[in-house]
């Protein structure tokens, strides 16, 4: 059976699987590791990647193993009719999922960027497997919720798994597009000319001096670009293919041809300003399903959208002229820099400034449109091959990769008679190399990124009652001071949500009718409690909108002027934090 048919076992397959370690010494150091060999799904190895069917089967198997904690919900269909599944992870003993702050994780928006699906599911697997005996994980599970969509582009995923491709083809989904503007759709795709199941490269030998490349004398698998004054005898002709539509160009209109990560409604721009954009924003059924899901779940307070390669922890803005609200920089930086600590060789970066401009990107929309702190991790960092010992150039890196994978990632050059170019050679790297880790490095990558996402999840807003005091203000009158605190990095309302009035403001509600609340004011600190002006008359003291929420690791201070004794019942209501109910006795 062709191993590429259902799963891709990242290369090489030769090293032992990195399941939890087995020695007592290691166990002592890693408190969550198993003393007794696990069975069933808990024993599964994370050293390979799965096609859409494999991912769905894994989700179902996890749901079967943890039925109380996992719910699978279809939210829509892809262009080709594949179901988009959301995995909700919740501890029902502590409340409905919609009542808790949620972390949203998705992956694989680019069809060829498959490994994020496993990263998302590994995190759930790890959390549920070890939460029973690791208190910190247990707390995450009981106070937070996860919404996971392992593949938001299942058509692209299966196209990459089951068709001849390169490591980079294809980012697109599978809706036909007239990429070359000739009125025809997908009529000139790459062609697997040598029928070996891969789209590799075409090169042509030319007289010495007419080429831009030469073969590395130390390693004939490697092509070296010639420098100034040097002579080459090879030219590259691009990916395998012919001119299917007779327009003189090769492979210019393949399947799909758009970028699903340029489909989102904030700072969306048409194709001439943003390559890969569809004619309309939210033009894809997959985008619309995710959009509608997020709009229906205002408790989502953090976003991670996994991508493929580069070793980056990215955030927006995607364009230089887009300004993120300055108040959100600090929480962004705290989380991003924590990521750099947790994941060696990763850099925390701003999209437009450190990488490139993106209009209409997903994490720009979730921040600009929804006001959620959002990250994209580019998973594979090539430096991990040499563990950062020395910076290798491309040729040396290829050689090291070859030695570690025993050259299984290389298709040797072989001759081919091309209809346009005549005698050429075809060869190069296979698709499951270069932009994804070899099998022996997969689990570590998944784990470190999961640790980062779990950190962001821990830092979702959590409102607690810091202090209440009651002091007399004269006959039958009392000052009731309430200090609420959010110890977490994520504010209950981001600066973006506050300034753009996104979602509902938080509310501090008085739910009891006695004692009577006469007035409310905000105060800055314990020394200036009477200096705060009463809230505007337009605001009811029993229903105070807190438009800016409770900031990152910050406090909210409210002073009530009440008349009479009794029990004052209050609720702090926030879309992105669990509601806090509390009482204050006045006697």
């Amino acid at each position: 059976m062709n191993p590429l048919r259902h799963t891709v076992r990242a290369l090489p397959l030769l090293l032992p699987l990195l399941l939890p370690a087995v020695t007592a010494t290691t166990l002592a150091a890693q408190g969550e590791a198993d003393l007794i060999a696990p069975t069933g799904i808990e024993a599964m190895s994370w050293d390979r990647f799965r096609d859409y069917k494999g991912i769905v089967e894994l989700m179902q198997a996890m749901q079967k193993r943890w039925p109380d904690n996992i719910t699978l919900t279809p939210i829509g269909k892809s262009v080709q009719g594949r179901t988009l599944w959301v995995m909700t992870v919740n501890d029902p003993k502590t409340g409905e999922h919609s009542t808790k702050p949620a972390m949203y994780v998705d992956a694989n928006i680019h069809g060829n960027e498959v490994q994020g699906a496993e990263a998302a599911l590994y995190m759930v697997w790890y959390l549920l497997r070890f939460a029973p005996r690791v208190p910190r994980l247990q707390k995450i599970l009981s106070t937070r919720v996860f919404y996971i969509i392992p593949s938001v582009n299942p058509d692209g995923r299966d196209y990459w798994f089951h068709k001849a491709n390169t490591a980079s083809s294809s980012r697109s989904g599978q809706e036909p597009v007239d990429s070359d503007g000739d009125g025809l759709f997908d009529e000139d795709p790459p062609n697997d000319l040598d029928k070996d199941g891969h789209i590799t490269m075409m090169r042509k030998k030319v007289p010495m001096g007419e080429g831009s490349f030469r073969i590395d004398p130390a390693d004939p698998r490697i092509m070296i670009r010639v420098g100034r004054g040097e002579k080459g005898d090879y030219n590259f002709l691009g990916s395998e293919g012919i001119d299917d539509d007779g327009d003189g160009r090769i492979n210019e209109d393949g399947p799909g041809g758009y970028d699903p990560n340029r489909d989102w409604g904030s700072d969306w721009q048409p194709g001439w300003l943003q390559r890969g954009a569809r004619p309309l924003p939210f033009g894809l059924p997959e985008s619309r399903a995710v959009r509608d899901f997020l709009l229906a779940h205002p408790n989502v307070a953090g976003v991670q959208a996994y991508h493929n390669a580069g070793g980056m922890i990215l955030r927006g803005p995607g364009s230089q002229y887009v300004k993120y609200a300055s108040g959100d920089k600090r929480p962004y930086d705290i989380i991003g820099k924590k990521g750099e600590e947790l994941i060696p060789f990763y850099r925390y970066m701003v999209l437009w400034d450190d990488l490139y401009t993106v209009h209409g990107g997903f994490v720009d929309w979730t921040y600009m449109g929804l006001g959620i702190l959002s990250f994209t991790n580019e998973l594979w960092a090539r430096t991990r091959m040499d563990q950062g010992r020395k910076k290798l150039d491309r040729a040396a890196s290829t050689k090291l990769g070859g030695d570690l994978s025993f050259d299984s990632h290389i298709v040797p050059w072989k001759e081919y008679e091309h209809p346009l170019y005549g005698k050429i050679e075809i060869g190069g790297s296979v698709k499951n190399s270069g932009r994804m880790p070899p099998s022996f490095l997969i689990q570590e990558m998944l784990h470190r990124n999961s640790a980062f996402v779990l950190y962001q999840t821990e830092e979702l807003p959590e409102v607690t009652l810091a202090k209440t005091t009651v002091t007399s203000a004269g006959k039958d009158l009392y000052y009731v001071d309430v200090v609420l605190e959010n110890k977490r990095v994520t504010p209950t309302r981001t600066a973006q949500a506050t300034t753009k009035k996104i979602g509902k403001p938080d509310f501090l509600l008085v739910t009891s009718t006695t004692p009577k609340v006469l007035q409310a004011s905000r105060f800055r600190d314990a020394f200036r409690k009477n200096q705060g002006s009463p809230l505007p008359k337009a605001i009811q003291a029993t229903r105070i909108p807190i438009e800016e929420g409770i900031p990152s690791r910050g406090k909210l201070r409210i002073r009530y002027l009440v008349q009479g004794k009794g029990t004052l019942r209050l609720t702090y209501e926030a879309e992105k934090a669990k509601n806090l109910n509390f009482e204050i006795e006045i006697h």
Partner: protein, 610 residues
């Protein structure tokens, strides 16, 4: 200059109907929708009705496709789209669009109209916002929390005095900042401290403070303004813009319609904006940024079609060409199609002579063109709750530049001319039924009439705008395969030259369309005719030695260099004439063949079309 109430009235959305749907408007909308289907049975060969979506209230979004019998199928012809009724206050626009449709369908077989529509297709979407039209509100009535208090549409204006209108109310208040304009009896304006004036009145929309937040009528169920919901410079998070771009079924259906019709070459929109009365403003941005105006290379189209419009309608005046989130700017900037927008209600040039105040004013340039989202929001934002709020401050800023007065005067004069006493309702005492306020006066300008077309003008507007519309059909691009000549270079070797021309006025792609790579371009293919079919014509190195083959020249060429009328493109090939098949040139758009021409064999005359 001090902003007057008239100023405020002129920029706020009109009259707020009672909460329940006003029966006459809803009935009119239903009748128009039914009537469209009725027209099909009368003109089955000329008209089809297509449903391109449903509104939030499940009304059909119907597009009338008008194509008279002709050689080319309707979908393959160059097409023009007319859209009316995006602004729900402008039901008369929809009525006129339908009247124009009925007029067109009655055209005699030999008439100019019939000839035009035998070679081109006209689409009409007359009721683009049926829910808003049925309620007489600018938006579509979608749930919307204007005051961001966590509740939607909970504080709407009301008709307190039961006269069928929700106008304005005023009462004397120590904190009031308004006075009655001594120069215009009954009109209110802000007091001017520089003139030692002190405010006497508070002025609010007619209605209760339903949510008890001490603001009046600040959260009406007006919904999303469709003319804020399109993707060009989308004013995200601004008032009325919707939760996200193209969030509304009505705007989405229209955007999909335009994007799915690659033969659309022109669009006309009846609404509140105008880019025809003057040559509109050009893009001021450099580099690869979303344009804020028209590219200079495309301005000639607007200039010439504007002249045509003014000639057809006899109108003059100033543009009102706002861009952020507007339909017409999106059509141009994202679809690459010229979109002509016009306000059928036209009060500006006639009032110029009639209003004595106007002559005293310095002619001013409207500042609205291409303004940013923040400013644009103010124009159609729900009513400001209190004079002296941001809206008034902005107005003051605008007024201080002297930019509004002449327009107000023109509007008032125009309203009084056409509606007499209905134009301005005198202030009448009314007992306010709740709160501290005891007595109010209700009255003011009936500005809702600014969105209605006077009965006396309807026929003329219908006719002259129809003339304009039909004249646009003559300006469609018409790409044709012209003369094909051949010369024998050697026995069996033929050199061929073909001329592809644009016989129409518009280029197949205007400048911005070349960037957008739409609408789709025609292409010329060299093929091999075999019986009734066409096969790819192979280059010599791929063909058998005895076959007809292409020696030089492309198998397929996109015709991308055609400009306006008379421009042409020359293409050349060399063929080897073999034993089987006839080399043929095909002019196609998409998968549709526009023309075919067999290659003349040596010493023979040019082949005919097929």
């Amino acid at each position: 200059m001090i902003p007057s109430l008239l100023t405020l009235l002129s920029i706020l959305p009109v009259p707020i109907p009672p909460q329940d749907v006003p029966a006459p408007q809803a009935q009119a909308v239903s009748a128009m929708l039914r009537g469209l289907h009725g027209l099909v049975s009368q003109h089955p060969k000329r008209l089809q009705i297509e449903e391109w979506g449903r509104s939030r209230k499940d009304q059909p979004l119907l597009v009338a496709r008008v194509a008279f019998p002709g050689e080319v199928p309707a979908l393959q012809r160059p097409a023009l789209l007319l859209v009316a009724g995006l602004d729900g206050r402008r039901l008369d626009d929809s009525r006129i669009a339908i009247a124009q449709l009925e007029n067109i369908l009655k055209a005699a077989p030999e008439s100019e109209t019939a000839k035009r529509l035998a070679t081109s297709t006209l689409y009409i979407l007359p009721l683009a916002n049926p829910d808003g039209l049925a309620r007489g509100i600018a938006g579509n009535g979608a749930p919307y929390d204007d005051d961001h208090d966590g509740r939607e549409g909970e504080d709407a204006p009301e008709d307190l005095d039961g006269d069928g209108r929700a106008l304005w109310m005023r009462w004397k208040d120590a904190e009031g900042s308004w006075i009655e304009d001594p120069d215009h009896a009954g009109l209110m304006r802000k007091a001017d401290p520089e003139k030692n004036e002190r405010g006497v009145y508070r002025v609010e929309r007619e209605g209760f403070d339903a949510d008890r937040d001490e603001r009046f009528n600040e959260d009406a169920p007006g919904g999303v303004l469709l003319e804020r919901n399109f993707a060009q410079l989308y004013p995200e998070h601004e008032a009325g813009a919707g939760r996200y771009v193209l969030s509304e079924p009505e705007s989405l259906a229209l955007a999909r319609f335009v994007s799915k019709h690659p033969r659309l070459q022109l669009v006309v929109s009846y609404g509140a904006t105008d880019n025809l009365l003057e040559t509109p403003k050009k893009n001021s941005r450099k580099g690869r940024r979303a344009p804020t105006g028209y590219f200079e290379q495309d301005l000639w189209i607007y200039k010439q079609l504007g002249e045509l419009y003014r000639e057809a309608t006899g109108r003059e005046g100033k543009n009102h060409d706002e861009w952020p989130g507007r339909f017409h700017s999106w059509v141009y900037a994202h679809m690459g199609i010229p979109c002509l927008s016009t306000s059928l209600v036209h009060w500006s040039d006639k009032a110029k002579k009639e209003d004595p105040d106007a002559s005293k004013e310095e002619p001013e340039k409207r500042p609205e063109e291409n303004k940013g989202p923040e400013e644009a929001r103010e124009d159609q934002a729900p009513p400001a709750s209190q004079p002296g709020t941001k809206t008034q401050d902005k107005l003051k800023k605008k007024s201080s530049k002297g930019s509004k007065q002449s327009d107000e005067s023109k509007q008032r004069a125009w309203l009084e001319k056409h509606y007499g006493e209905e134009a301005f309702l005198p202030w009448k005492l009314h007992q306010f039924p709740e709160g501290k306020i005891r007595e109010i006066e209700i009255g003011g300008l009936n500005e809702g009439l600014l969105h209605r077309i006077p009965e006396s003008e309807k026929d003329a507007i219908t006719t002259n705008h129809l003339d304009f519309l039909l004249s646009l059909l003559d300006r469609m691009p018409q790409v044709t395969l012209g003369k094909v000549t051949s010369k024998q270079l050697a026995p069996g070797i033929v050199e061929v030259e073909a001329l592809v021309s644009n016989e129409g006025w518009l280029p197949p792609r205007i400048h911005i369309a070349t960037l957008l790579r739409r609408p789709v371009l025609p292409r010329l293919e060299a093929v091999l005719a075999t019986g009734t079919d066409w096969q790819p014509l192979l280059p010599a190195q791929e063909a058998r030695a005895t076959s007809t083959a292409l020696l030089t020249g492309p198998r397929m060429t996109l015709i991308s260099d055609l400009e306006g009328k008379g421009s042409h493109s020359k293409l050349r090939w060399t063929f080897r004439i073999g034993a089987e098949g006839q080399p043929t040139l095909l002019l196609r758009i998409g998968d549709r063949v526009l023309a075919s021409r067999a290659i003349p064999t040596p010493n023979a005359k040019n082949g005919g079309g097929r």
